[in-house]
Symmetry: C2
Subunit: 581 residues, 2 copies
């Protein structure tokens, strides 16, 4: 074995898919940092996987991609005991797993007895020697091994064996029957040896890294930096270089521009989309394609350009949203990389299990979700997110940001790069939105507070507050001006991120949304559920009540009443009601 081993496991196919991300990280960092005679990053990624893992779709997606990429240092130990929680795999899982993995381009091996360490060891050596393909070791085992009554039974899956059966098992295995915990001497000795072996390997690596520091001081410094998770000096000058367009632009397009500037200064930024680069615009131009270096690469359509191989920073995930999310988590777990993953907001649904685990694990992953509303237009309701923004907001520790214009989009990327203790989801438009002239309005830097007073018609306590996010902010600003002309004191609040806003002091939140102002209208081209948090029982929410439809975007906004006129009439209805009570 080699130092720097990564191990992982996890529920329902997540572990194996996350491991593919770790192996990608290792391959990429190796290509970036290793030099002849100086292998600073060179480790295997081992996975313990179960029958259940191999049934999951996310595992299928990730393993197909791993085969395509030729991740030779990925080794999966498939604990094939042919038993899952509910019974024998003969009920539901009789495919030829080895053949499937061969079809993916994997190296496969079968170990007929998982209780024979020597044969497992031989198989591991063979897997480690195979450098061109990932390896699957199908290791036949017995669940509840040694238990006279439950070996090979699904009763040993979800429940403890029970006192009697534990005693019987110990007896059968020739273990002391009384001790609740006992570690056989040879096992203890073996693990104790590992302490020394580990120390030796670490010290070898330290010596090797010292030599690397001498021969490649700048690379060594950079390696230390990326592994520490610190951003490079002056990385945020990228934002100074960014000049927002004066004409309308989709926020996905702005994001593309900002990403190019950031990618130049933040080399650890790396990612891609689930087969949507031309739509989500999440390529790093000339950043290279992350691909098996020994694969053919002449004139391949859709290649981003730049180097072709593990040094490439653009990952082509294929139409595999779920694996993309799990792989991104794996890259973040590994360290040395800030991964981003992109698809249409609609298809974030496919990614939820992995997004949630990233939130639970506090991983620095950036999701770029474009085509964020009925603004998608003709593709129709299967492609129009309605409930996605709100349902992403329900996931603990996920920072969701839906910027309203170019300036807020740049700020959103700033948060995404600096918020390291959990993932950030950027929610971007397909359609153009006008830039907001920041002279009469508040600066977009206030996005870091999650919500802020974008504009108000006067400095008195407002008669009504209009709250909005993303592309709807523009109609709301127009509505605010129209209401102001009718003599009402109006405040417009841009609320791109609920999570950031709720982290602010209660004083700040009270300043933006004073309790005394009961007339409140929230506007978002998504489900209305949830907005009562800011408008209360007696406010109004202008949003979607059901699924979208197929038509040009502008027509849809009109048909579903997400318009300046509807915002004005909703606010007037509340203002009149207030007057009459």
């Amino acid at each position: 074995m080699t130092p720097g081993v990564e191990t992982t496991t996890g529920p329902l196919g997540q572990g194996i898919s996350t491991a593919v991300g770790m192996a990608i990280a290792e391959a990429h960092l190796g290509a970036r940092f290793n030099r002849p005679g100086h292998m600073v990053i060179d480790h295997f990624t081992y996975v313990l996987a179960s029958d259940g893992d191999l049934m999951e779709g996310v595992c299928a997606e990730a393993c197909s991609l791993a085969g395509h990429l030729g991740l030779g240092k990925l080794i999966v130990l498939f604990d094939s005991n042919r038993i899952s929680l509910a019974g024998s795999t003969e009920l539901c899982f009789t495919e030829d797993v080895e053949k499937r993995f061969e079809a993916y381009g994997w190296h496969t091996l079968r170990v007929p007895d998982g209780n024979d360490p020597a044969s497992v060891d031989i198989a591991l050596i063979s897997a480690e020697e195979e450098t061109e393909r990932p390896s699957l070791l199908l290791i036949e085992t017995h669940i509840g091994f040694g238990s006279p009554g439950k070996q090979g039974s699904f009763k040993a899956h979800g429940s403890p064996l029970g006192t009697e059966e534990v005693t019987a098992t110990k007896k059968r295995l020739g273990w002391p029957e009384t001790a609740a915990f006992s570690v056989p001497e040879d096992v203890r000795d073996h693990f104790r040896e590992a302490l020394g072996r580990g120390k030796d390997l670490e010290s070898q690596w330290q010596q090797s890294f010292y030599r690397y520091t001498r021969s490649h001081p700048e690379l060594a410094e950079e390696f230390r930096r990326v592994m520490s998770g610190n951003l490079p000096q002056n990385w945020d000058h990228a934002f100074a270089e960014f000049i927002p367009e004066k004409k309308p632009q989709s926020t996905r397009k702005t994001s593309e521009i900002v990403l190019q500037l950031l990618a130049q200064r933040v080399p650890e930024l790396m990612g891609g989309s689930a087969d949507l680069n031309p739509s989500t615009l999440t390529w790093i131009k000339e950043g290279g394609d992350f691909q098996n270096p020994s694969s053919h690469h002449k004139a391949i359509q859709g290649a981003v350009g730049g180097p072709w191989g593990y040094e490439g920073r653009n990952i082509h995930f294929g139409v595999r949203e779920h694996a993309m999310a799990a792989i991104s988590s794996g890259m973040a777990h590994h360290g040395g990389i800030i991964p981003y993953a992109s698809t249409f907001l609609m298809f974030s649904d496919y990614m939820r299990p992995s997004i949630r685990l990233a939130c639970l694990s506090g991983l620095h992953v950036i999701y770029v979700f474009t085509h964020d509303s009925i603004g998608v237009g003709e593709d129709g309701p299967t492609h129009q997110p309605i409930e996605q923004v709100m349902s992403l907001r329900t996931i603990p520790n996920l920072t969701v940001i839906r910027p309203c214009d170019a300036a807020e989009t740049a700020q959103a990327w700033n948060v995404a790069l600096t918020h390291t203790r959990g993932p950030t989801a950027l929610i971007l438009t397909r359609q153009d939105v006008p830039p907001i002239s920041r002279e009469p309005y508040a600066p977009a830097s206030l996005l870091e507070k999650g919500g802020y007073i974008l504009w108000e018609s006067s400095s008195v306590v407002p008669d009504a507050i209009l709250i909005s996010t993303g592309s709807e902010v523009h109609a709301v600003l127009e509505a605010g001006r129209a209401l102001s002309k009718k003599g009402h004191a109006i405040r417009v609040v841009s609320l791109p991120s609920w999570e950031l806003f709720e982290k602010q002091s209660s004083e700040y939140r009270e300043q933006v949304l004073p309790s005394q102002v009961k007339v409140r209208v929230a506007v978002e081209a998504g489900i209305t559920l949830g907005w009562e948090r800011y408008v209360g029982l007696h406010g109004a929410v202008v949003g979607m009540k059901g699924f979208g439809s197929s038509a040009p975007a502008q027509l849809l906004f009109e048909q579903f009443g997400i318009t300046r006129e509807h915002v004005v009439s909703s606010a007037l209805a509340l203002l009149n009601k207030k007057k009459s009570t």
Copy 2:
């Protein structure tokens, strides 16, 4: 070809997975209704699938299961043009698809030229002749066929060819260049013939069905009934037969009992779990195992019992939540079956894309989600749903019901059976909950209104309303009594289904939750976001602020403050605040 052909397609692997459900429905109904010489249900299910579909995990799950089940009448035409939206499949998808499907146990065929109808036809005949295994026809095609500039290019995927290129294409194909739409005569003739062929086939089927009606009148009547979607006479006597336990019982256990009673009276009820029968308790005992009839079935662990074959009503989906949901949609699309699908609530995340499509399509599917909160206990935060109930509520046209006791659970199943224009999700506990003695409390039949006054301390306008769902209702009732002893007029509202409640008249809703009562506390062991809909800006929500933890359930409820004491103190704080203002 055979009459009664089903065809389907859909985005991102959904179509192919849904088709597996259609083929399951056909196989099951065939086993149920066909008799020697009388094939009333006997059709192929054809799928048009793309490279993108085959990359999706849900497709992998469904196709592995289809192979296991030996669904010989399922035929997938894989339109292999090696181009997806973002470029060539050489970027990400180089696996051997035929070999993969052979590993699943499929019959595969390759058609080298998809523009040669004769060879497609021959392949289809061969697929139709193969009765033991599903068939995959890998048909090589060219995207943008005939376009001089865009054939074989990903530019022909997401965007129209454009006027010039359309003209050039017509020229190249020898078509009239001026007509915007034109159908060649031989094509028109061919399709017109289909009218007659279809009529003939339908008339043959009608004749055959007439003969069936004569020889098997009861079966014919039953076939008509299940295909019409009407429930059998007296089906709801099942509820009269149901006697709730007097001792505490988990709602999943109650659900199991109710399901057995319903299954006896509603033979079209059919489903299963994603490898969780012993936990979700969603088997139909002695209802048979839906399996390939020619497969071995001696002493297989986890088999439910009863017949083994396509007549079985228990589907063993394996650890494949996403495919389970898509397959259930396919069965509902087909008709003749009321499908249910079960897993832990946590893993509903895996199913969201298919749940959403079921909602959009208005399908009668029943999801049974158990282990619905931190009540899961020691399995810890990866298995404890926090945001799932609320995020399911965000999906349009999904009826979510979280019953609080045995009586509400039975009523929830009643709704699930009778609400046919969209899916219903039943949210059930792992842990025991006490039965609510319905004498002093309102009857559980009010569940059909979504929310109702469960109890109040007096008939005056309440000082405070406590609102809750599921297992938390019991702590809330205790809190209500405690507050009442302190001299407050308290109302407890059970709100198991927001969607049903919101369908009621505004008068009814006002009666349950009078506007004038501002002191409101909502209690649910899930994320608090969303509950402001019922408690407003100034109410309190007792719920979860972040992820759960691993510990015994009771300890978790205490640690996270979802207790009677916390409900009492939250209500008192609001009551005192009100007094002081």
